[in-house]
């Protein structure tokens, strides 16, 4: 926490800079700031550290070999034909003598990835095409179901891109990695993959799910309820068996994670709530992930009862809101009228001309002038 508003702003700016959401102008300014302001620079570095590990979830793509040629050319490096094979210290496997870009490792992953599973992701980028949105609503569902069986395909490749351990404790984490029970990993992997895919899918025009805006805007309290519904509902929807397996494996993995992260406790029961309520550290990860793969079916919103419930909830709430506003308005009007009438009755002389009954009701001036003399007018009676 920062005490000074400006610090907070700066930190937020750094965070947004790193995550990449600044608009072009802001980014230009931030780039300048980055050069001149040491404090800002260290904030940016801190955020890069914080968010940096997210890159692990991005799949490698082998670049064109000419890129290296260009880099080499610009640096004036000699074209080293066969650089001395590098022997990694505690390697998961021994790397081949690095031919600049032969990438045996990444291939399988890409092959797997090239399947329709990822297509919906960016396809519709900004144009809200109907077809693509429909696709997106359907395909991810099947993906998520077929995901688990597909996991083994990924494995060979998965070995390969391994590497990233947090710098401080490399040796230990390296030892840890291979030890991790194999069956567990695909699960987490799947979930994270689903999580990213979900994030991408989210980018697609969601014709059905009107709740997006609301959930973004409204405070947690409101959001919490429907989410629970969804988690519950979708769990019933989505392939139950794999789900169960996943849950079981998750538990085991959580325990490991708990050791590793030195976290508190492990309960894997209610996903969203535990995440919100707070403490258990390793847990929210999977708990968060959990609803998502299952959240994929959410894309076919119409089908899920939970979703219907949620939608109804939203709609009703919006309707309620309208009523509330109307009620408030009517009350104000009634109050105003009431007080005006009361004023006419009790303190007519204090009202400005414009609020006199004659003016308001458009009566001819005769009315009061008749009355007043009439009251005075005992003469009239006489």
């Amino acid at each position: 926490m920062h005490d000074i508003v400006k610090d907070e702003d700066l930190s937020a700016l750094a965070a947004e800079y790193v995550i990449g959401t600044l608009d072009p102008d802001e980014r230009t300014r931030a780039n300048v700031l980055l050069e001149v302001d040491e404090g800002f620079r260290s904030l940016v570095r801190a955020w890069e550290r914080r968010l940096g590990e997210l890159h692990l979830m991005v799949e490698p793509v082998e670049p064109n070999g000419r890129i290296w040629e260009r880099v080499r050319g610009r640096l004036g490096l000699p074209a080293a034909e066969a650089p001395p094979p590098f022997t990694p210290a505690p390697p998961p496997f021994v790397p081949p003598p690095p031919p600049p870009f032969g990438a045996p490792a990444a291939e399988p992953v890409r092959a797997a990835a090239a399947e329709p599973k990822f297509e919906p992701k960016f396809a519709p980028s900004f144009e809200p095409k109907l077809e693509s949105s429909v696709e997106s609503m359907l395909e991810p569902k099947f993906d998520s179901k077929f995901e688990l069986p597909r996991a083994p395909q990924l494995e060979p490749a998965l070995e390969a891109p391994a590497i990233e351990e947090p710098a401080p404790e490399e040796p230990s984490s390296e030892e840890l990695m291979p030890e991790e029970p194999i069956p567990e990993e695909p699960t987490r992997e799947q979930r994270l993959a689903a999580l990213i895919r979900e994030a991408d899918k989210f980018s697609q025009p969601r014709t059905a799910d009107t709740t997006t805006t609301d959930t973004m805007v409204e405070p947690a309290a409101i959001v919490a309820e429907p989410q629970v519904d969804i988690a519950a509902g979708s769990q019933t929807d989505a392939a139950p068996i794999s789900q169960m397996d996943a849950a079981a494996e998750e538990d085991a993995l959580l325990k490991e994670a708990a050791d590793a992260i030195a976290a508190k406790s492990v309960e894997s029961a209610e996903p969203p709530e535990t995440g919100k309520v707070g403490k258990p550290a390793p847990e929210p990860v999977p708990t968060k992930v959990e609803p998502w793969p299952t959240g994929a079916p959410r894309r076919d919103t119409m089908l899920t009862p939970a979703d219907l419930a949620r939608l109804t909830f939203r709609t009703q709430e919006r309707r309620l809101e309208t009523w509330r506003a109307a009620m408030l308005f009517m009350s104000v009007v009634a109050l105003g009228l009431g007080s005006l009438i009361a004023a006419w009755r009790f303190v007519p002389e204090r009202l400005p001309m414009r609020l006199q009954p004659t003016a308001v009701l458009g009566l001819p001036d005769l009315g009061p002038s008749e009355r007043i003399p009439a009251q005075h007018g005992t003469q009239f009676e006489e």
Binding site: A12, A15, E16, I19, G20, L22, R50, G52, E53, L54, H55, L56, M57, V58, E59, P60, V61, E62, P63, N64, I67, W68, V71, R72, R74, P83, F86, P88, P98, P100, F101, E115, F118, E119, K121, S125, L154, A162, I163, E164, S173, M177, P186, I196, R197, A199, D200, F202, S203, Q204, T213, M216, V217, I261, A263, P272, K276, E283, P284, K288
Partner: protein, 181 residues
């Protein structure tokens, strides 16, 4: 792509700082696919991504001496450099045109987490992200992986831009607290 551990990569970066071209080449070979995946995911065009790769590795070569393995993992360090440049590139006005026709149908740029890459740092980060509400989690991940500007993100999420900004900043500050606690 050769697969090297963080230690090896760190060593290569240190060697690169000493202007060891061979080490740099190995570093490139070991890291380029990962970096390219990140860059391509943001730019979605091979030509732009190639430019950014070139610039990024030049910067990595130049700044190798600034790399501090105690602070950040080597891949995260390199990716941060490439990401920064990719986003800069994506925000350049002329890059906007590319959005209409992404060269990549994105069959290639997804993110399945390769096994064994689940590091403690990532676990921790995901734990913190996991504490956010699901919609905000998505917002955040979408923002990170796609590197969309706020306006783009607001459009995608169908949220008013100012709301999105507030929500985003709140999420980020919660993550910051979570990570530092």
């Amino acid at each position: 792509m050769a697969v090297l551990s963080s230690v090896d990569l760190s060593r290569l970066i240190v060697a690169t700082a000493k202007r060891d071209g061979g080490a740099f080449e190995q570093l490139y070979a070991a890291s380029c696919a990962k970096v390219y995946g990140v860059v391509l995911r943001i730019l979605r065009r091979h030509d732009l991504a190639a430019d950014v790769m070139e610039e990024s590795y030049l910067e990595i070569w130049q700044d190798a001496a600034e790399f501090n393995p105690a602070q950040v993992s080597p891949m995260a360090w390199m990716v941060a450099i490439a990401r920064r440049r990719a986003i800069d590139r994506a925000r350049r006005p002329d890059a906007d045109a590319s959005e209409a026709e992404p060269e990549i149908a994105d069959a290639e740029s997804p993110g399945v987490l390769p096994r064994r890459e689940m590091t403690d740092g990532l676990k921790r980060l995901l734990t913190c992200i996991g504490r956010l509400e699901p919609d905000r989690q998505r917002m955040l991940l979408l923002a990170y992986y796609g590197a969309f500007s706020r306006d783009q993100l607001a459009f995608k999420l169908d949220t008013p831009a100012n709301m999105l900004k507030a929500s985003l900043r709140r999420s980020l500050s919660e993550i910051e607290q979570c990570m530092t606690s």
